[in-house]
Structure formats: C-alpha cells, structure tokens
C-alpha cells in the first residue's frame, strides 16, 4: 500500500485540475454556448507562465533551456500570474474569434488556433524551449514544509481540492446571478436577447476570459505539481477529453461534470494502465482516443445534455402578464419565479418529458416563449 500513496494522491491532484478545466469549459460551452476548441492552450499558457516566473532569469549560459519572462517570484504569485496569463490570451483570441460569426466558424477558428499554437511553441525554442519544454520547476514551499514527498503530494492534493471548492462556489454564484442568466439567454435565444438589450459578443468575451483565467490557474497548479511542461502535454486532442467529460456529465451542470471528470479522464484513461500490454506501443493510446471520439459523438446523439442535465430555470408569466425570459434584463428579475432550485421540485423529470434540446438557435425560429411557458 505504501507505494500506492503516490499514485492515488497524484490522481486526486489530476482530478482537481481536470475539475477546474471542466468547470471552465462548462461555463463557456454549457452556459454561454461558446465552443472553445482551443481550451488546452489556455491551460498551457498558465503552465508555461507559472514555470518561467520561478525558473529565474534565462541566463543563456547553461542553455539547456531557453524561455521568455524568466523571473524569481515567490509563491503564490506564479499561480496568480498563470490565471492572468490565461485571461489575457483569452482576451486576445476572443476579440477576433468571438465576433458575430456563425458559431461553427468560431469553433473552427479556435481549432486552428490550437493547432498552430502547438506547432509554433514546438518549433520556436526561444519561446518556451520548444518541444523539449521546461523542466526543473521547483515545487512550491517544498523547503518550507520540509516533509516527505508522499506527504507533500497529499498536502498539495488538499490544496488543489480547496482551490476547486473556492472556484466552484464562485462559478455557481456567477451562473445563478443575472449575468449567468444573461449567458443562457444569449445561448438559447440570441435574437431575443439582443432585443432586450443584451450584448452577446461582449457577454461571450467575458465568459471566455473568465474561463481562460480558470484554465490558466489549472495549468499553473498542474505544472507546480509535476515540475515540467512540454508540448506533449497539450496536443489539440487533450481539449476533447474534458469536452467529453462535460458532455457525459451534463452540459450546463457544474455538479454533473464532477461525475463526468471522474468517469472520463480518471477512470477511463487510468484503467488501461492495468491492462496487459497488447499490440505495438501506442495501440492502446490510439484506441483510447477513438473511444473518446465515439463517446463524444454518442453524447451528442443521444443525450445532448449529459447524464445529469442542467436544471431548468423556468420563467412563468409575471404579474403584468408579460412573458419573461429567464435571462432578461435586470428589470425583469423581480417578476421571475425560480423553481427547481434545490426545493425538491423534480424539475429534471419534468424537463426530460419535454423535447430535449431547445429549438435550433441558428435557425432562430420564433415561438421561443411558448416553449418556456410550456414547462410551467
């Protein structure tokens, strides 16, 4: 059992980091409908920045690694910078990728960004040491804590889970705020949302930057734990492990994705380590990726909302008789009656009896209000 403590504590750390990633993606895709196919690069930049600001200035003499932004900053500054770096890169990419273009265009542009970023960082050694990546990143407070590696891993795992708890509370609060309702409004009924004064591009950019910050933070946490970071860790396909977890767990449901993360990156990707080797090296990997792809397609086909779907916040006719959207402008909030909010009303079952997806947003058909009132 002794040796298992390393393995299990590492899995707990990975679980926490994947959770952060999933909440970030869920915020963007589940709540705002932004298909972020370049998610992994925001985690990557967080990891790179958290590394270079503790590796010291790049001296160039013992040039086994070269990098930008070399510094010696005390913990936890690197983590904060990692989050900021994720946010900053998101802002830059979001500004052009999230303009009012078709959402499938947006997704394609994101994918291109992810592929090209990987190519450039691998090829240009002056950025972050090319395909060898950065190594020798010190573990934070290792000297100050002065404990065995095993204990350190558990302390770190606890720290990551504590960060998860904080992020969860923040994300849940935001999702339930008027801002969160606005996000859902632009996701489901963009034209209607515009007509009540919401700015979809700005809202998407905001959620994109917030998600980027969480992704950057997760990257910083990861790299401080493993002590190294290279392009091998952020291939474009890595994004889809998290995407699949969100789809499996429940789009737009921050608790559902906890289950999704447990099932996909932890259980499904760790189990093959215990299989006897077969075929040539890499065959199991390839099969894993094919199954991820298949799971993802299946998720889109049978349960677009995941195993644990989003709770529907249902608007009913207000006192004035007007039909209100759940994501309306502040003036409407007083007239909204929220149900299915931990009050025991089995909304999930009721929602499930109704046709699953909202009407195609791209077709922008009318009759959105009728779907809403149907529920209540």
């Amino acid at each position: 059992m002794g040796a298992f403590t390393y393995y299990i504590s590492t899995l707990v750390v990975y679980f926490g980091i994947d959770l952060l990633s999933a909440w970030s993606l869920n915020l963007q895709y589940g709540y705002a409908g932004v298909i972020n196919f370049s998610f992994i690069i925001f985690q990557a930049i967080g990891a790179y920045i958290a590394s270079t600001v503790v590796l010291g200035p790049d001296t160039g003499i013992n040039a086994y690694q070269t990098y930008l932004f070399g510094a010696n900053l005390p913990w936890p500054v690197p983590l904060i910078l990692a989050a900021l770096a994720g946010a900053a890169l998101s802002a830059v990419i979001g500004v052009f990728a999230l303009r009012r273009i078709r959402r499938d265009y947006q997704a394609a542009v994101m994918l291109i960004v992810s592929l090209i970023a990987l190519q450039v960082v691998s090829a240009d050694v002056h950025l972050f040491n090319g395909s060898n990546g950065l190594t020798g990143i010190p573990k934070p407070l290792e000297g100050a804590l002065n404990v065995s590696l095993a204990s350190y891993q558990w302390i770190y795992a606890a720290f990551v889970l504590a960060i998860c708890a904080v992020v969860y509370v923040i994300v849940q609060k935001l999702c339930r705020s008027s801002w969160g309702r606005s996000l859902r409004a632009i996701r489901d009924q963009e034209d209607a949302a515009i007509s009540i004064g919401l700015n979809p591009t700005l809202l998407r950019l905001e959620v994109f930057i917030l998600g980027g910050a969480i992704a950057g933070l997760s990257g910083g946490l990861l790299v401080e734990f493993i002590g190294a970071w290279s392009p091998g860790a952020w291939g474009y396909a890595e994004t889809f492990v998290i995407f699949t977890a969100v789809l499996v767990g429940g789009v737009g449901n921050n608790r559902g994705v906890i289950l999704g993360i447990f099932l996909v990156p932890i259980l499904f990707l760790e189990l093959p380590r215990f299989l006897p080797a077969f075929g040539y090296p890499g065959l199991i990997d390839a099969i894993e990726w094919m199954v991820i792809g298949a799971l993802w397609m299946l998720g889109l086909l049978v349960r677009p909302r995941g195993l644990i779907p989003e709770r529907r916040f249902v608007a009913v006719r207000g006192g004035s008789g007007a039909i209100a959207f759940d994501g309306a402008a502040p003036g409407f909030f007083g007239r909204l009656l929220m149900v299915g909010r931990g009050d025991g009303v089995p909304m999930r079952r009721r929602a499930a009896t109704v046709a699953q997806p909202a009407p195609p947003a791209d077709k922008a058909t009318a009759g959105s209000a009728s779907e809403r009132t149907e529920l209540s």
Binding site: Y7, T10, S122, T135, A228, A277
Partner: protein
Amino acid sequence: MRAKRSAAVGLALAAGIGLAACGTSNVSSTGTGSSSAKGPIVEGAVIAYTGTNAFEGGVTDSGVYPAMYEINKAGGILGHQLNIETVDTRGDPADALPAAQKLLATTSNLVGITGAGTTSGPTLIPLFNSNKMVVMSSAGEARYDRSAYQYFWRLVPPDPANGEAMALWAQKHGFTRIAAVFGTDSGSQGDLPGVLQGISKIHAKLVANVSLTPDQPSYRPEVEQVLAAHPQVIMTESDGATAATFFGEMKQLGQLVPIYGTQGTVTNSWLNPVRGAIGASNFQKYYTAIVGGTPKPSPALQAFVQGVKAESSKVPSPASQWFGNPYAQAFYDGVIVQALAMQAAKSTSPSVYNNYIMKVTAPGPGKEKVYTFAQGKAALAAGKQIQYMGASGPVLFDKYHNSFGNEAAESLSANGTPTVLGIITERAIEKLG
C-alpha cells in the same frame, strides 16, 4: 454539495485501490534456464514508446532485453529470473508521473529502472529516488553532471559531450566554417547546445544555424541559406524524413559537403531515408557519425550482440542496427551492472545493492575483470572482487554517479555496420571544457 464532492473523491480513491487488486503487468521474459523456485524480479523500462520521443523506447528495449537474456541464460540473479516491464511515458511528464507511480505501486518485485529520459527524467528521478529505487537514467541534461540523488546512475554521456566531440573531430580535419542544421524536435534540440558550445570552444565559425520544423513538404529556403553560407561541414540531427528532404534538396540545388551526425542519427529511421535521398555512394562519402562509447570488440560486446539477436523479436527490426548503437550498449551495461551489484550484495533490495554498484565497476588492485554477467556471477561466487567491463567499455562512475566514456567517429555501411574512423577521448573532451 460538499458531501457530494468528497464522495466523488472518495470514489476516486476507492477505484484506485480497487484497481490495484486487478493490477496486471506488461511483463515479458525469456524462459531460458529457469531452474529456481524463487519468483521473478522486474526491471522497469520507463521511457517514451509513443509521441515525439518514441525513438527512445526502441533504443531502450534494444539494451534491456539483451541484458535480460544474458542474465536469465546464466541462471538469473540470486536464483530469480529477471523480467522486463515496459512503461510508456509518452514523452509527457504529466503522463509519466502516474504511469511511474502505478508501476511502483503495483510491482512489489521491482528491483530497478532503466530510462526516465530527457523530458520526463526531471519529474521521475526525484520520485524514484525518494522511493529508494535504483534508476539507470538516460536523461542527457548537463544538470545531472553533479547529481545529488543517491539512487540515480547515468551511463550515457551528458548531451554536450557528443557535440563537443563533433567539434573536435572537425578541428582535426581543419574545418573552420561549420553549419548547424537541427530539427526542432525534442531529441535534436537537446543535442544542439552541445554542438554550439563545441564550435565556440574550438573557435570555429558558425556560418549558419538552421532550424528545421518537421513535416514540411520542402526545406529549400533553409537549403539555400546553408549553401549561401558555404560551410565546410554540416553538423546535424533531426528526424529521418526531415533530414531526407533537406539533404535531398541540397543535392538537387547545389553541392553536398561533409555531414557529421550526432549519435541521435545512428538509427535506421534516420540512416535509410537519408541514404535513399542522396544515394549510397554520396552517403558513404559525406556522412560521419560521432557516437559515445568505445566500440572495441570485446567479449562484452559479443555477449550484447548475441543478446540482441536472441531477443530480435523484442527490438525494432532489423536487429543489426543496434549492434553498434552506443545508447543500447549503455542500457545493456546498466542492467548487467545492477544484476552484478545484486549478486555482490546478496540482495535484490535496491536500498542494499545500490551501495555495491561502485564495487562491481570501479577498477582496483586484485580485481578480476569480467565481461559478462555469467563471468561476474562465477567470480563473485568464488569470493573474488570484480570490475565489470561493459559492451560500451569500462564503466567508471564518478562521485556523482556519472560515467562519461570516450566518443568515436564512425562511417556506416549499408547494413549499419560501423567502421571506426577515430576515437575522441574523454580526456580531450574534458580538456576542451
């Protein structure tokens, strides 16, 4: 909510522990000479078998499987058969960490590690060290020249040594205008700084320093750049496809010049495409490989070659390409050294036999020189002190557990058989630094 999350974590823990119960291993072994009732012991090969560093896996297998064959043929270590368990790091530290931890957790009869290469070494070596697990590392980083890890050992020279030897070889031929042409892949970039250091130390002129991004359809701009600089020699490493395109276009657009390949180029996946691209006679004429080790025929080298042949199904074919491979020889020697240390310590426990590794390798008065595991085992049984002379030459660890060794310049025939053109001694390389 809180209850739910901790339940999920608990579930993760439970599943992890549950997994242990059904843990099986990617173990393989040869059945030769099995005569003991004692259970087998396991050497872990923890290295990239897939991803951009996948070449590391092939070269590691080509060292550890022949060693396993040699050891088991001689009756095993203290009556235990030796098995190899391969663990794929995918060249990604984030993957390497749980993979290595799972190996440690589920393999109670693990006695040593070969591997922990360039990208994952820095993450894995502290882990193995704190688990008191002997690791014969292939991480070339110069920072391990002064390693303080008690359980870390390195049989391959640090990355800069190879590059400095190339520079010395160029100096010997009176070349003063040198071009560096390196791929942007991780292996090549690891060797580039050593080459640049070497060039600056011999005060030669670096007339062009070109990076090749792999997988491009053409490298003509880069070829033009090199040709325009008129180098007398090109020092190079990249993947085979990239090199074939580059040198093929160089032949098409101008004139070839002598090509010095790092030891990263001495595999069929590099040699064959390049030979095809520039023609066999040009290849023979222009290409020189600078490799580590002292490939002098010795009983140890014979035993290694015999082992590669016997385990040819386990190594990337054709097996003959590994006969002269310095890395494969070094990994072979590493496993044999561990096995002899176990014999000497009369224990397979890493924390015990770790202290005997020096004792079976260091030279000394009255020590018997042994070239194979069987010889060493017999000599130890007869109560003698031994010094192991490896396939890559004598294994001389310094106090930081590093063994550097000489470098050799070779030309390679069409079937990969090396002809030694000259030796660049460890002393000469040290003098340069």
